[in-house]
């Protein structure tokens, strides 16, 4: 039972930065399972009879399992892992406010993700896109979010540094907004009838992205960029304008997901206008990104985490041009209901925000464990497999989406064109296999780093260039 004692000691540790490490490691574990489920769902789009007679593995249950696993299991836990390293460092504090409290939250969160998603695949689901977890899990997630919020806010308030770097604003903002969005969006605590239910559904479905993944991801990006390049952030003012305009313009955009359904026109108008106005915060982030990177691009040759950040920045440019473009009525008229949108979702969550967390993991894990990353080759493989994977996925889903959109738009019977998507679905499946393989390398690499006893100690490296 020695291993159990050791595990308990590690899991419920009060060591500084142990929560950050534990959150990141469990996030990567869910990531591998999540992308495997996604790849399996992708395979079913090519070979529908691959699995028959097993309800738990049918497409309609795999898809919500995949979505919840990568949003709540991987990205959310990864974000919290990054927050619990970045916040104490920025306020000059040794570890967060209460590491043991955060570690208990981590265990609870893992249980919710594991059991909740197991329940989804067994048919216990609320069946609202992005908010499928059953009501009992919703309450637990909310409690965990509040616990994390308390920890985050207390860390900052008890820190020595009183001048807040912009990342703190973004991180604390996301920890304030997400519980609020979660309460309304999951309709456990507030319930609506008929079409109002769909309005609240897409308020949540869009704002888990806008008020949580975007705000948190940009906060982490603003921390990593100056660290990796050794250059100060281009403009603090721009980043603050970005922060407040995200708050203003993201909240009302959800209705653009049901733009052509019979919900009130004024709501659609607000959604479309604020979607286009999202270009304001996006351009502040991108200006800061490109201007901070100026004269520093050469670093990407050796700096593996920086490579992830650069590709995330460029994917952010793509996804945020696509987003407002798709939300306008005339474009939505043509593209809605198609796989194009699925490609867009992967561009945002995989190519942008997951890449930011990949970069952060490769930087934070050596910092919190004091060990150098096990293998540079595996990290490079992880980078290229995931990068090429998401590109193939985006291209194939976009083409498949255009075929679909043309079919619906010209009212051609579905059996006349649906099979035209098959080659693109095959490419999508193969891209999923590449991405899954990349994440397996990632998990193995981080596992060997964290758990091996004879790992190389992390060298002194302010920009993190020697960590990988």
């Amino acid at each position: 039972m020695a291993w159990l004692n050791r595990l308990t000691a590690e899991v419920f540790s009060n060591e500084p930065f142990s929560a950050s490490r534990n959150f990141l490691v469990s996030a990567i574990f869910w990531l591998v399972i999540g992308v495997t489920l996604g790849t399996l769902a992708g395979a079913l789009m090519v070979w529908p009879d691959l699995i028959t007679g097993i309800g738990n593995l049918s497409f309609g249950r795999l898809r919500p399992a995949h979505v919840n696993m990568v949003t709540l299991g991987w990205l959310s836990m990864g974000y919290v892992g990054c927050y619990f390293y970045i916040l104490p460092v920025l306020v000059r504090r040794k570890g967060i406010w209460n590491e043991r409290f955060a570690n208990i939250t981590m265990v609870a969160w893992n249980l919710v993700v594991g059991i909740g998603i197991f329940c989804i695949t067994n048919g216990f689901t609320e069946a609202r896109e992005y908010a499928e977890l059953g009501w009992c899990f919703d309450i637990l997630v909310l409690a965990a979010l509040l616990a994390l919020g308390v920890n985050g806010y207390m860390t900052v308030l008890t820190g020595e540094e009183k001048k807040w770097y912009v990342s703190i604003w973004y991180i604390l903002g996301s920890l304030f907004w997400f519980p609020l969005v979660y309460v309304i969006g999951n309709r456990v605590f507030v319930s609506f009838e008929g079409l109002n239910d769909s309005i609240a559904n897409w308020f949540y479905g869009h704002n888990i992205l806008g008020m949580w993944f975007t705000v948190g991801g940009v906060g982490i990006l603003y921390y990593l960029l100056p660290r990796f390049t050794g250059a100060p952030l281009y403009s603090h003012t721009l980043s603050m304008i970005g922060f407040w305009t995200i708050g203003m313009f993201y909240a009302p955009t959800g209705t653009h997901h049901i733009l052509q359904s019979p919900v009130p026109e004024w709501l659609k108008a607000i959604a479309v206008i604020s979607s286009v106005f999202l270009l304001v915060p996006v351009l502040t982030v991108l200006t800061n990104f490109f201007m901070t990177m100026r004269h520093k691009w050469y670093l990407a040759a050796d700096h593996i985490p920086l490579r992830f950040v650069i590709s995330a920045g460029i994917a952010y440019l793509l996804t945020c041009i696509q987003g407002p473009f798709q939300a306008t009525r005339s474009i939505n008229w043509y593209l809605h209901f198609s796989n194009w949108v699925v490609g867009h979702a992967h561009l945002a969550l995989l190519a942008t925000f997951s890449f930011i967390v990949f970069a952060a993991t490769y930087y934070i894990i050596p910092k919190v464990t004091g060990k150098k990353i096990y293998s540079k080759k595996l990290a490079v493989l992880h980078f290229w497999l995931t990068l090429i994977g998401w590109m193939l996925m985006l291209i194939s889903l976009t083409i498949a989406g255009l075929i679909q959109a043309a079919g619906w738009h010209f009212s051609i019977a579905m059996d006349q064109w649906a099979f035209e998507q098959e080659p693109y679905m095959l490419v999508r499946f193969l891209s999923g296999v590449m991405i899954t393989l990349g994440q397996v390398f990632f998990l193995f690499n981080i596992y060997k780093t964290v758990f091996s006893k004879d790992a190389e100690p992390a060298p002194h490296s302010p920009t993190g260039i020697d960590f990988v």
């Binding site: 028959t52 007679g53 069946a127 309304i184 507030v190 609506f192 079409l195 209705t255 699925v342 649906a418």
Partner: protein, 327 residues
């Protein structure tokens, strides 16, 4: 740390604006947007098969691939949905992607037996479909699901099928002054034009099985489908003239005159549109050696082989028992 009062006022103001935005766009609609129920609204009595079927529809994630609202631009989907159609739809199943077709008007469109077979193995009745087989549902659940599908949109007006635009109606009426499309003479003239121009794809019996159809991914139309009864004369004329977008059906007005196209329409009207005779394999493709058999002889031969009953070969015995029990 003593917070600066100016910061606190500013932060409070911003938080107030933010909460107002959330209130207005997520919560306010629930009190101001309460449409009256329309005639087309689906009705679910709690505990009824339709109600239970809806739960299964949600549980199995059908709404990830099927939407339940038609849009302005969706032609051939019948009456446009209204907000009042959704008063009983809580939680909503609007859907956001159409990997499969829209289901807002599915009720009454197909017989129960079709739905049953389709869910057991979609590829039996829809070759090439990528819908998952829901064979893991038990008979009870399946009957609920089918009951639900038959409820969705059944109170809506029957759909208006694709129809010729006014421009073509006017043009057709001009031709109809010189061509009587109901006369056997016109049909006979059309038959010649059909055999020269159309039969290589649509087949000599109009079953969409001409020799060229082998090479086509989008198979030519099968005129024996009962669906074509809904075509009026002007629609036939328009379809021949303008072709079918997205397929290899040409725009015949470029080669044929208006009168010739009217003759073709006259001939197409004479084809038997009483039962769909699917083209299931290569042997069904029209070839020269089959030309001595007429349509009815081929059908009789196939019937004797039991090839014409798609349900007979695949449906499990439990399914038959349940369908028998349901009626």
């Amino acid at each position: 740390m003593r917070p600066n009062i100016n910061y606190l006022i500013a932060a409070g103001f911003v938080a107030l604006i933010f909460l107002t935005i959330i209130y207005v766009t997520a919560i306010l609609p629930a009190s101001t947007f309460q449409p009256e129920a329309t005639r087309a609204a689906n009705v679910y009595v709690e505990g009824s098969p339709q109600f239970k079927g809806r739960e299964i529809y949600r549980r199995e994630g059908c709404f990830y691939c099927h939407t339940q609202f038609s849009r302005y631009q969706d032609r051939e989907m019948g009456e446009l949905v209204k907000a009042g159609d959704y008063v009983n739809e809580t939680p909503h199943v609007l859907g956001t992607e159409r990997t499969g077709p829209d289901l807002s008007n599915i009720g009454g469109k197909y017989p129960d037996a079709f739905h049953w077979t389709h869910h057991m193995n979609p590829r039996v009745v829809k070759p090439g479909s990528i819908m998952p087989a829901f064979s893991y549902l038990n008979d009870q659940e399946m009957s609920y699901l089918v009951a639900y599908l038959q409820e969705v949109g059944k109170r809506r007006k029957p759909p208006a099928w694709v129809a010729a635009p006014q421009e073509y109606r006017d043009r057709y009426h001009l031709v109809a002054e010189s061509v009587d499309v109901n006369s056997s003479a016109a049909a006979n003239a059309g038959r010649g034009i059909y055999m020269q121009n159309c039969a290589q794809c649509h087949g000599i019996q109009g079953r969409g099985n001409g020799p060229v159809s082998i090479s086509m991914q989008k198979k030519p139309a099968n005129f024996t489908r009962p669906f074509y009864r809904s075509y009026d004369d002007a629609t036939w004329f328009w379809r021949v003239a303008e072709g079918v977008p997205g397929t290899r059906m040409p725009r015949w007005y470029k080669t044929l005159g208006d009168e010739s196209m009217a003759y073709v329409a006259a001939y197409l009207k004479t084809l038997p549109q009483d039962a769909e005779t699917p083209v299931a394999n290569m042997d069904d493709i029209d070839r020269a050696d089959k030309m001595d058999m007429n349509y009815w002889q081929i059908e009789a031969a196939k019937n004797s082989l039991g090839q014409n009953d798609p349900f007979q070969a695949y449906a499990p015995t439990t399914f038959k028992a349940a369908v028998g029990g349901a009626h």
